[in-house]
Protein backbone atom coordinates (compact mmCIF):
# COMPACT_ATOMS: atom_id res chain seq x y z
CA UNK A 1 0.00 0.00 0.00
CA UNK A 2 3.00 2.24 -0.37
CA UNK A 3 2.47 5.66 -1.85
CA UNK A 4 -1.10 6.60 -1.14
CA UNK A 5 -1.98 4.50 1.89
CA UNK A 6 -5.14 2.50 2.21
CA UNK A 7 -8.19 4.01 0.62
CA UNK A 8 -10.81 3.13 3.19
CA UNK A 9 -14.42 3.88 2.31
CA UNK A 10 -17.77 2.68 3.50
CA UNK A 11 -19.76 -0.15 1.95
CA UNK A 12 -23.01 -1.82 2.87
CA UNK A 13 -22.39 -4.95 4.90
CA UNK A 14 -25.01 -7.35 3.54
CA UNK A 15 -25.03 -9.36 6.76
CA UNK A 16 -25.64 -6.58 9.28
CA UNK A 17 -27.35 -4.19 6.88
CA UNK A 18 -25.06 -1.44 8.16
CA UNK A 19 -22.16 0.36 6.56
CA UNK A 20 -18.71 -1.02 7.27
CA UNK A 21 -15.22 -0.18 6.08
CA UNK A 22 -13.60 -1.64 2.98
CA UNK A 23 -10.30 -0.71 1.33
CA UNK A 24 -9.92 0.15 -2.32
CA UNK A 25 -6.76 -1.15 -4.00
CA UNK A 26 -4.49 1.84 -4.77
CA UNK A 27 -3.07 0.02 -7.80
CA UNK A 28 -6.55 -0.40 -9.21
CA UNK A 29 -7.19 3.31 -8.68
CA UNK A 30 -3.90 4.21 -10.36
CA UNK A 31 -4.72 1.95 -13.29
CA UNK A 32 -8.11 3.63 -13.78
CA UNK A 33 -6.48 7.05 -13.55
CA UNK A 34 -3.92 6.14 -16.19
CA UNK A 35 -6.58 5.03 -18.67
CA UNK A 36 -8.82 8.10 -18.85
CA UNK A 37 -10.43 10.91 -16.90
CA UNK A 38 -13.76 9.18 -17.34
CA UNK A 39 -12.56 5.99 -15.69
CA UNK A 40 -10.98 7.97 -12.84
CA UNK A 41 -14.29 9.80 -12.30
CA UNK A 42 -16.23 6.55 -12.33
CA UNK A 43 -13.87 5.21 -9.67
CA UNK A 44 -14.19 8.42 -7.63
CA UNK A 45 -17.98 8.62 -7.76
CA UNK A 46 -19.60 5.38 -8.89
CA UNK A 47 -17.60 2.94 -6.78
CA UNK A 48 -18.71 4.45 -3.42
CA UNK A 49 -22.23 4.93 -4.75
CA UNK A 50 -22.61 1.28 -5.71
CA UNK A 51 -20.93 0.01 -2.55
CA UNK A 52 -23.13 2.07 -0.26
CA UNK A 53 -26.45 1.84 -2.08
CA UNK A 54 -26.32 -1.29 -4.20
CA UNK A 55 -29.32 -2.70 -5.98
CA UNK A 56 -28.04 -6.24 -5.52
CA UNK A 57 -25.22 -8.04 -3.73
CA UNK A 58 -24.10 -11.58 -4.45
CA UNK A 59 -21.62 -13.76 -2.63
CA UNK A 60 -19.29 -16.21 -4.33
CA UNK A 61 -19.23 -17.56 -7.83
CA UNK A 62 -20.49 -20.92 -8.82
CA UNK A 63 -19.46 -21.43 -12.38
CA UNK A 64 -17.36 -24.49 -12.87
CA UNK A 65 -13.84 -23.87 -11.68
CA UNK A 66 -14.55 -20.59 -9.95
CA UNK A 67 -12.90 -20.10 -6.61
CA UNK A 68 -11.35 -23.52 -6.53
CA UNK A 69 -8.14 -21.71 -5.64
CA UNK A 70 -9.65 -19.88 -2.72
CA UNK A 71 -10.48 -21.40 0.64
CA UNK A 72 -12.93 -18.64 1.33
CA UNK A 73 -15.74 -18.09 -1.16
CA UNK A 74 -16.54 -14.82 0.56
CA UNK A 75 -16.13 -12.57 -2.43
CA UNK A 76 -18.92 -10.09 -2.88
CA UNK A 77 -20.20 -8.52 -6.07
CA UNK A 78 -22.12 -5.25 -5.64
CA UNK A 79 -24.24 -4.16 -8.53
CA UNK A 80 -26.39 -1.22 -9.62
CA UNK A 81 -27.28 0.91 -12.60
CA UNK A 82 -25.94 4.30 -11.48
CA UNK A 83 -27.75 7.43 -12.67
CA UNK A 84 -24.84 8.38 -14.95
CA UNK A 85 -21.54 7.28 -16.46
CA UNK A 86 -18.58 9.23 -17.87
CA UNK A 87 -17.07 9.50 -21.32
CA UNK A 88 -13.32 9.01 -21.83
CA UNK A 89 -12.85 12.76 -21.59
CA UNK A 90 -14.70 12.91 -18.28
CA UNK A 91 -18.01 14.27 -19.51
CA UNK A 92 -21.00 13.06 -17.55
CA UNK A 93 -23.52 11.14 -19.66
CA UNK A 94 -26.34 8.64 -19.31
CA UNK A 95 -25.52 5.22 -17.90
CA UNK A 96 -24.21 2.82 -20.50
CA UNK A 97 -27.03 1.09 -22.33
CA UNK A 98 -27.63 -2.56 -21.46
CA UNK A 99 -24.91 -2.56 -18.83
CA UNK A 100 -24.75 -2.59 -15.03
CA UNK A 101 -21.91 -1.34 -12.89
CA UNK A 102 -20.32 -4.05 -10.77
CA UNK A 103 -17.85 -3.65 -7.91
CA UNK A 104 -15.95 -6.70 -6.67
CA UNK A 105 -14.79 -7.05 -3.06
CA UNK A 106 -12.65 -9.96 -1.89
CA UNK A 107 -12.88 -11.80 1.40
CA UNK A 108 -10.34 -9.42 2.94
CA UNK A 109 -12.67 -6.51 2.25
CA UNK A 110 -10.46 -5.18 -0.53
CA UNK A 111 -12.24 -3.58 -3.47
CA UNK A 112 -10.08 -4.93 -6.25
CA UNK A 113 -12.02 -4.23 -9.44
CA UNK A 114 -15.03 -2.45 -10.84
CA UNK A 115 -16.43 -2.46 -14.31
CA UNK A 116 -19.47 -2.22 -16.52
CA UNK A 117 -20.80 -5.63 -17.49
CA UNK A 118 -23.61 -6.64 -19.85
CA UNK A 119 -26.97 -6.85 -18.12
CA UNK A 120 -29.23 -9.86 -18.07
CA UNK A 121 -31.91 -9.69 -20.76
CA UNK A 122 -34.55 -10.85 -18.24
CA UNK A 123 -33.58 -8.46 -15.46
CA UNK A 124 -31.70 -5.41 -16.63
CA UNK A 125 -30.58 -4.48 -13.14
CA UNK A 126 -28.58 -7.70 -12.85
CA UNK A 127 -25.46 -8.90 -14.67
CA UNK A 128 -25.93 -11.37 -17.49
CA UNK A 129 -26.44 -14.95 -16.32
CA UNK A 130 -26.66 -13.83 -12.69
CA UNK A 131 -28.85 -16.81 -11.80
CA UNK A 132 -26.15 -19.31 -12.63
CA UNK A 133 -23.16 -17.09 -12.02
CA UNK A 134 -23.30 -16.43 -8.30
CA UNK A 135 -23.51 -18.71 -5.33
CA UNK A 136 -25.84 -16.72 -3.12
CA UNK A 137 -27.88 -13.55 -3.50
CA UNK A 138 -27.64 -11.43 -0.35
CA UNK A 139 -29.63 -8.40 -1.50
Amino acid sequence: MAGYGPFAIEALDPVSGKLHVVRVSPKAIEAAGRRSMGQALECAELVPMVLQKPRHIWRGLRWEGDEKYSDDPGWLSYCKIPPYSYSDEGIRKLPRPNKVFMVCVNSENVVYRWWWVPCDPEDRECPKDYEVRFREQLL
Binding site: I9, E30, S36
Partner: protein, 146 residues
Protein backbone atom coordinates in the same frame (compact mmCIF):
# COMPACT_ATOMS: atom_id res chain seq x y z
CA UNK B 1 -9.60 2.03 10.36
CA UNK B 2 -11.55 5.22 9.75
CA UNK B 3 -13.29 5.52 6.42
CA UNK B 4 -12.82 8.50 4.15
CA UNK B 5 -15.92 10.49 3.33
CA UNK B 6 -17.06 10.11 -0.25
CA UNK B 7 -15.82 13.63 -1.00
CA UNK B 8 -12.40 12.91 0.49
CA UNK B 9 -12.18 9.69 -1.48
CA UNK B 10 -13.20 11.39 -4.73
CA UNK B 11 -10.62 14.17 -4.25
CA UNK B 12 -7.83 11.67 -3.55
CA UNK B 13 -8.74 9.57 -6.57
CA UNK B 14 -8.83 12.57 -8.87
CA UNK B 15 -5.46 13.74 -7.53
CA UNK B 16 -4.04 10.43 -8.77
CA UNK B 17 -5.71 10.66 -12.17
CA UNK B 18 -3.13 11.26 -14.85
CA UNK B 19 -4.22 9.78 -18.14
CA UNK B 20 -1.14 8.55 -19.93
CA UNK B 21 -0.59 10.30 -23.26
CA UNK B 22 0.46 8.73 -25.47
CA UNK B 23 -1.02 5.64 -23.93
CA UNK B 24 1.29 2.66 -23.63
CA UNK B 25 -0.12 -0.87 -23.21
CA UNK B 26 0.98 -2.43 -19.94
CA UNK B 27 0.32 -5.23 -17.48
CA UNK B 28 0.21 -4.69 -13.74
CA UNK B 29 0.11 -7.11 -10.87
CA UNK B 30 -2.03 -5.87 -7.98
CA UNK B 31 -1.08 -7.69 -4.79
CA UNK B 32 -4.08 -6.27 -2.90
CA UNK B 33 -6.45 -8.07 -5.24
CA UNK B 34 -3.99 -10.77 -6.40
CA UNK B 35 -4.82 -9.99 -10.01
CA UNK B 36 -3.06 -9.07 -13.24
CA UNK B 37 -4.60 -6.44 -15.48
CA UNK B 38 -3.46 -6.06 -19.07
CA UNK B 39 -4.57 -2.89 -20.79
CA UNK B 40 -4.12 -2.78 -24.55
CA UNK B 41 -6.06 0.39 -25.30
CA UNK B 42 -7.54 3.00 -22.95
CA UNK B 43 -11.06 2.78 -24.44
CA UNK B 44 -14.21 2.64 -22.36
CA UNK B 45 -14.85 -1.05 -21.99
CA UNK B 46 -17.19 -3.64 -20.64
CA UNK B 47 -16.00 -6.83 -18.99
CA UNK B 48 -16.78 -10.33 -20.23
CA UNK B 49 -15.87 -13.44 -18.30
CA UNK B 50 -14.06 -16.07 -20.37
CA UNK B 51 -13.24 -18.73 -17.78
CA UNK B 52 -12.36 -19.09 -14.14
CA UNK B 53 -9.09 -17.20 -14.61
CA UNK B 54 -9.76 -14.74 -17.34
CA UNK B 55 -12.07 -11.81 -17.91
CA UNK B 56 -11.58 -9.77 -21.07
CA UNK B 57 -12.40 -6.16 -21.81
CA UNK B 58 -14.15 -5.19 -25.02
CA UNK B 59 -14.32 -1.63 -26.33
CA UNK B 60 -17.70 0.04 -25.94
CA UNK B 61 -17.02 1.86 -29.19
CA UNK B 62 -16.17 -0.95 -31.57
CA UNK B 63 -16.19 -4.24 -29.66
CA UNK B 64 -12.43 -4.75 -30.04
CA UNK B 65 -10.45 -6.58 -27.41
CA UNK B 66 -8.84 -3.83 -25.30
CA UNK B 67 -7.65 -5.62 -22.18
CA UNK B 68 -7.83 -8.55 -19.84
CA UNK B 69 -7.93 -9.39 -16.17
CA UNK B 70 -6.52 -12.49 -14.48
CA UNK B 71 -7.82 -13.12 -11.00
CA UNK B 72 -6.22 -15.37 -8.37
CA UNK B 73 -2.96 -14.66 -10.13
CA UNK B 74 -0.70 -16.50 -7.70
CA UNK B 75 -2.83 -19.63 -7.83
CA UNK B 76 -2.97 -19.26 -11.61
CA UNK B 77 0.84 -19.21 -11.80
CA UNK B 78 1.23 -21.98 -9.23
CA UNK B 79 -1.11 -24.23 -11.15
CA UNK B 80 0.64 -23.51 -14.43
CA UNK B 81 4.03 -24.31 -12.93
CA UNK B 82 2.76 -27.54 -11.39
CA UNK B 83 1.49 -28.68 -14.75
CA UNK B 84 4.38 -27.26 -16.74
CA UNK B 85 7.62 -27.35 -14.75
CA UNK B 86 9.43 -25.79 -17.72
CA UNK B 87 7.49 -22.62 -17.03
CA UNK B 88 9.29 -22.18 -13.70
CA UNK B 89 12.55 -22.04 -15.64
CA UNK B 90 11.17 -19.36 -17.92
CA UNK B 91 9.76 -17.18 -15.16
CA UNK B 92 12.47 -17.83 -12.62
CA UNK B 93 14.03 -14.49 -13.29
CA UNK B 94 11.73 -11.55 -13.76
CA UNK B 95 10.59 -9.70 -15.74
CA UNK B 96 7.90 -12.18 -16.73
CA UNK B 97 6.55 -12.09 -20.25
CA UNK B 98 2.78 -11.98 -20.07
CA UNK B 99 2.47 -13.95 -23.28
CA UNK B 100 4.14 -16.93 -21.58
CA UNK B 101 1.35 -17.10 -19.03
CA UNK B 102 -1.31 -16.99 -21.74
CA UNK B 103 0.51 -19.67 -23.79
CA UNK B 104 0.79 -21.93 -20.74
CA UNK B 105 -2.89 -21.48 -19.98
CA UNK B 106 -3.84 -22.16 -23.59
CA UNK B 107 -1.87 -25.40 -23.48
CA UNK B 108 -3.89 -26.48 -20.47
CA UNK B 109 -7.35 -25.30 -21.43
CA UNK B 110 -9.97 -27.69 -20.10
CA UNK B 111 -12.34 -29.17 -22.65
CA UNK B 112 -11.75 -30.38 -26.14
CA UNK B 113 -10.88 -28.66 -29.44
CA UNK B 114 -13.96 -30.21 -31.02
CA UNK B 115 -16.16 -28.12 -28.72
CA UNK B 116 -17.28 -24.76 -30.04
CA UNK B 117 -16.81 -23.10 -26.64
CA UNK B 118 -13.24 -24.41 -26.39
CA UNK B 119 -12.41 -22.92 -29.78
CA UNK B 120 -13.89 -19.54 -28.84
CA UNK B 121 -11.89 -19.48 -25.61
CA UNK B 122 -8.71 -20.62 -27.35
CA UNK B 123 -9.12 -17.89 -29.96
CA UNK B 124 -9.38 -15.29 -27.20
CA UNK B 125 -6.16 -16.53 -25.58
CA UNK B 126 -4.48 -16.56 -28.97
CA UNK B 127 -5.50 -12.96 -29.53
CA UNK B 128 -4.14 -11.96 -26.11
CA UNK B 129 -0.86 -13.73 -26.86
CA UNK B 130 -0.59 -11.79 -30.09
CA UNK B 131 -1.18 -8.44 -28.38
CA UNK B 132 1.16 -9.22 -25.48
CA UNK B 133 3.91 -10.22 -27.90
CA UNK B 134 3.35 -7.29 -30.23
CA UNK B 135 3.54 -4.83 -27.35
CA UNK B 136 6.42 -6.68 -25.69
CA UNK B 137 4.57 -6.80 -22.37
CA UNK B 138 6.62 -7.72 -19.33
CA UNK B 139 5.85 -7.45 -15.63
CA UNK B 140 7.48 -8.00 -12.28
CA UNK B 141 7.78 -11.57 -11.06
CA UNK B 142 5.66 -10.90 -7.97
CA UNK B 143 2.60 -12.73 -9.26
CA UNK B 144 4.63 -15.81 -10.11
CA UNK B 145 6.44 -16.03 -6.79
CA UNK B 146 4.73 -18.80 -4.89
Amino acid sequence: MKALTNDEFAKLVMKMASPQRPFRPSATYDAAGDCIEFIIKPDDFYAHRIDDFLTVYYSEENGELVGSFIKNAKAFCRQLIERNPWLAIIIEEPPVRLSHLFVARLMNLPGSPDQEQWRVTATTYKELIRYAERENIEMSGEACTT
